[in-house]
């Protein structure tokens, strides 16, 4: 447990000290969403109709952009090898890194999402559901992204490749995230969709660090 907290603390302080790295994904998220009213025209009806999808797609893309930070620098400077040698199980350390990644990218995106919903003319009663889907969904992005980030260590064009690998796996998340918000907008209950996203989180929480750790071992050996 100490090792887990130490990893989280280390990654958080690294992210805070190199502030620009951590805020880059967030700025990307905001800019992509602002492009849409300019691209499709500022008509409120159209924007409201596509708001849930745009916010979610932008969140997926921004998460992809932040993945190369996750293991690459540790891989380059040899920290990763020490993590492999550490007495604590690698899966636990990976979970710590995923948590730190979520705290520096998922959580800020979650906090700024209502503002972007406002930009996109989203109905006020959809906001709690938007926050709930993001709260359950962005940790899944960090966990799935961890697998991709570990797999492409040392690859050519790793940044583009990781998006190619991880985005197909996130499609179910996108589908249920958006349909939960649409259900809320049309006055239906979005409980079922939220439960499914919760199930995805519960399934990836133990399984993804396992796959990530296996990928890291292959990358270093």
């Amino acid at each position: 447990m100490n090792a887990f907290l130490a990893i989280v603390r280390r990654d958080l302080s690294l992210a805070l000290r190199q502030g620009s790295d951590a805020t880059m994904a967030l700025m990307f998220f905001v800019i992509v969403v602002t492009l849409f009213p300019l691209g499709v025209g500022p008509e409120p009806g159209v924007l409201e109709r596509i708001s849930a999808g745009i916010v979610w797609v932008a969140a997926l893309l921004a998460a992809m952009l932040s993945l190369d930070r996750m293991f690459q620098s540790d891989y380059d400077d040899g920290t990763l090898e020490l993590m492999l040698l550490a007495p604590a199980p690698l899966e636990l350390l990976v979970l710590g890194k995923c948590l730190a990644h979520w705290l520096t990218t998922g959580l800020p995106m979650l906090l700024i999402a209502p503002l972007l919903g406002l930009f996109m003319n989203m109905q006020a009663d959809a906001f709690p559901v938007l926050l709930a889907t993001m709260a359950l969904g962005t940790p899944v992005l960090s966990l799935l992204g961890g697998i991709g980030a570990a797999l492409v260590l040392g690859a050519r064009r790793a940044g583009a490749l990781v998006a190619l690998l991880v985005l197909p796996l996130t499609i179910p998340l996108l589908i249920f995230g958006v349909s939960a918000i649409e259900a809320a907008v049309t006055g239906q209950s979005s409980k079922a969709q939220l439960l499914i996203i919760g199930a995805m989180l519960l399934a990836t929480l133990p399984l993804a660090p396992w796959a990530t750790a296996a990928a890291l071992r292959q990358a270093v050996s």
Partner: protein, 241 residues
């Protein structure tokens, strides 16, 4: 486990494959020709779909193969990671483009059938979307395997990706039961027997057998090519050293 290791010897595999290859080709051509004859000439048009039902004889076998090949690759990836089986990785890499081809064919033929039947080329229902994801997984695997300067590293990363992507296979299989989709539910592999007329089942099964043999044939060709390429690379390296 004995036979499992017996076949792990690439030289033994090469000899066996070379002997089997012509038989597989002959059998595949025979079942394919019979399946095409029954499918195109000697089976009735459907009472609702008319002649377009014949697309099924290509669409359904390719969709089965799309899932079968991925499952085979995932099993190969597991035996590569667990037992370091030297041929498993060659098999997975050789099968990937073939599987991607089958998946693309299932998507294209389904789309050609959907236009007259559903009135649209494409719908975003669960079955179609999950097969499209499968296609992306194939492409992602091929891209990942080829992204490393060290081929060994690419093989291992690819194997892990294959196992992660295997989640999608049961989703495809059961998507028509879990969701209320436009795509019809399973009508051949059902607990209470196939819900399809024997006159249509025969060409379908013949085509399915032909597709499987075709896959086996291509797999052997590609595996032999890959093994030869590896041998050449080793010889060059030992020459240079």
């Amino acid at each position: 486990m004995n036979w499992f290791h017996w076949f792990a010897n690439p030289a033994r595999f090469m000899r066996l494959a070379a002997r089997l290859q012509p038989w597989i080709m002959v059998l595949g051509l025979a079942t394919g020709a019979a399946g095409l004859y029954y499918g195109l000439f000697d089976s009735p048009p459907d009472y609702q779909q008319g002649e377009t039902v014949r697309i099924m004889y290509v669409h359904v076998p390719s969709a089965w193969m799309a899932m079968f090949v991925y499952t085979m690759m995932a099993v190969a990836a597991a035996s590569f990671l667990i037992w370091k089986h030297p041929l498993a990785d060659v098999a997975a890499q050789a099968a990937a483009p073939i599987g991607a081809g089958f998946t693309l064919m299932a998507l294209v033929t389904g789309s050609l059938w959907g236009q007259p039947m559903w009135g649209t080329w494409w719908v975003w229902d669960a079955r179609l979307t999950s097969v499209l994801i499968l296609f992306f997984l194939y492409l992602g695997y091929i891209a990942l395997v080829n992204a490393f300067d060290d081929p060994e590293r690419g093989s291992k990363a690819g194997a892990i990706l294959l196992l992660v992507g295997a989640v999608n296979i049961p989703i495809i299989k059961f998507s028509v039961d879990w969701w209320n989709t436009l795509h019809q539910p399973a009508s051949v592999a059902r607990m209470d027997g196939p819900a399809i007329d024997p006159s249509m089942l025969l060409p379908l099964m013949l085509m399915a057998a032909a597709f499987k043999l075709y896959f086996l044939y291509l797999l052997i060709v590609r595996m032999r090519g890959e093994l030869t390429a590896r041998r050449i690379r080793l010889l060059r390296l030992s020459d240079a050293a």
